[in-house]
Symmetry: D3
Subunit: 63 residues, 6 copies
């Protein structure tokens, strides 16, 4: 604890996830007063086919 | 907000997800009094190997 | 299966949840070809203090 | 209900998931006084590239 | 890792959760070959007003 | 999108959540190249009675 779950569109690189994990962990440790070892960050890729806003799939409304 | 998350068995088509996103968004907007733009629908495919009911994996009890 | 999870701001009534459950279940049954009995809908109330968009808590930017 | 969601690193076998589903369902039925048919277990594989602890991705700190 | 999330109807006692945490952790350690320290179990109480099956809220169909 | 979900032990203040939302949103915008308006952060408080590690509830092993 804490557990941070980040849902991103598929396609973010390993480098972006590495940097996000580092910065989010640092923020959580500093602000919520916990330790890095107790802080878990999980990434979940979401395809644009699996995500809708305004009632339409993102795969059909964005490029 | 609202965020609606729909877990379905793998295999539903893009057309089914498109129609589900449309109808669910319409229901949420009408009943919960929000806007389409504020309503997010996320689909998550679950394989039958990853889902159990009655203590048995669906991949081994259904066809 | 399917499992539908609906996150709404705290304050929606029992009547709204009842109607949402009914309409969403009907949509899932018709579109994804499953049965009402196999369809689960779970509501999770989120307080505006626990939800941020644009980097600011909804409790401090909406009324 | 109940719904049990198990996040594991990618790579566990079908046999391990089958055994986990069986044992967890049995525990939930006995301890929480429900039925096997009402108990759902869902597995979600997480890649080590998608999981960080201590601010570092597991894919870069474990082998 | 692993993370196990258990959704139960509100009303299970502290003793039931303690026993569930103990037995589920033991099962995960033995079957998925991990350590107790790496295994997290999180309970989430769901009110019957927030859970529907067959299109109807459990608060209105069960007692 | 992105959606960030932060599970924290109950007791963090509104000020801590406000600061976490601000810093996490900034990190996601900069690193994942999105906009603040598209970035949602949701906090979920977990009681120590509802969280176990090493097979024991945190309410019985921490103070």
């Amino acid at each position: 604890m804490p557990i941070v779950r980040v849902e991103l569109w598929t396609g973010r690189t390993q480098a972006q996830k590495r940097e996000l994990a580092r910065v989010i962990t640092e923020a959580v440790v500093n602000i919520a007063h916990t330790t890095p070892e107790a802080t878990i960050v999980i990434f979940q890729d979401i395809d644009k086919e699996d995500w809708a806003q305004g009632g339409a799939l993102a795969s059909e409304t964005t490029e």
